[in-house]
Amino acid sequence: MQDLALESLKFIDLNFMSVGFLFIVGFIGGLVSGFIGSGGAFVLTPGMMSLGVPGTVAVASNMCHKFPKAMVGAYKRFKYGQVDLKLGLILAASAGIGVQAGIQIQHFVLGKWGEAGSNLYVSLSFVAILIIVGGYVFYDAWNTARTGGVEKVTKLARKLQSINLPPMIYFKTADLRISLWFTVPVGFATGLLAATIAVGGFIGVPGMIYVLGASSLISSATELVIAFVMGLGGSINWALHGMIDIRLTLIILGGSLLGVQLGAIGTTYVKEHVIKVVMGSIMLLVAVSRGLAIPKYLNQLGLISMNEGSIMLLGKLSFVVMCISLAVGAIIILGSMWKARRPALAMEESYVKA
């Protein structure tokens, strides 16, 4: 007998190759997420779609794997004293509003310009935000590395912290006192971006660092709390619509839970600016990847004309660059962990000898 439920929902058949692919991408994605707070899951949606999973099922299954992963990562980093739970929950609340606003904007764009217009809007916001924010993060990491690896609180954050606009909140772990009103736009933007391009952390973490003045270690750990709350809400919503393919979710989760813990451990080894280096380079590479997808949508809207072959090629190139961005992130993380581990090991050995 044929699998009726699997058939009717267009859930794909799984073979060894696809399981292996999902497991490995899940692991690398988890590693990156555990390290920079988010941003590991964006390859999975197009990755699953390339295996033949329908878009909505891919998004739903991806989201359902994201929140337990964020939970495990947040728990692990909480144990290292890096998570500011209060900051995370307050930002998550305003991010919830941002998500709703983002969905409304999507509906508006979809109604006015159709599918291609919506895709173009998503890609354009991807490219614009990632280049601006990612470029700045990278530049800042470069500067920090040059000046000896000590992070400084930005002028903007110091100015905002000095404005006494009630209710003022003190965040203990992040060790900063700031008005609630300045945290709201950061959370809102995180949610808006999460609803638009599915990775809110690309604005949430830099927002916490540069606008609120938290360190990159605390920001990336706190982002995991936001991702957990938003992912849980989103997953329940998708589950109500019956769109989650639990098999895909569990396979990816199998890999990503290994990765997220390794990433979390990695943050205790490296200097703080390495988090910014990883984040900046991933953001810039993803921007390139999405930029390569733009001609396709422009073509669909009839704004430019290109032949099918070159559009296919650009699409494939875009996916490859996206995979490269994740791989680069993973290599930097593992490389810097390895480098930081060697002196520690040498010291241990010398203790043993003595």
Partner: protein
């Protein structure tokens, strides 16, 4: 097929939506504990705990404190050479 039964229940919606969500929770608790033990078994553990460095000033201050405590205190040693002719 079992996969068919599971999928049909897990995608029913309404209260059945709790099934996938509960599954991933249970899975993440079990797998999380497993992965944590696996990494420590492989010798990969956190290097420093309780990292609470936020501002540049603090970092510098803490660094100084660390250095002070790390510096070896000179120890007084009394040693009498028994072969020394007085």
């Amino acid at each position: 097929m079992n996969a068919d039964t599971v999928t049909s229940y897990f995608t029913k919606g309404s209260w059945y939506a709790a099934l996938p969500v509960a599954t991933v929770f249970i899975f993440s608790f079990a797998h999380g504990a497993f992965a944590s033990n696996l990494w420590s078994l492989l010798g990969i553990e956190a290097a420093r705990k309780d990292v609470k460095v936020t501002t540049a000033e603090k970092t510098v201050r803490e660094d100084v404190r660390e250095k002070k405590s790390a510096r070896k205190r000179p120890r007084a040693r009394a040693y009498i050479n028994p072969f020394h002719r007085i």
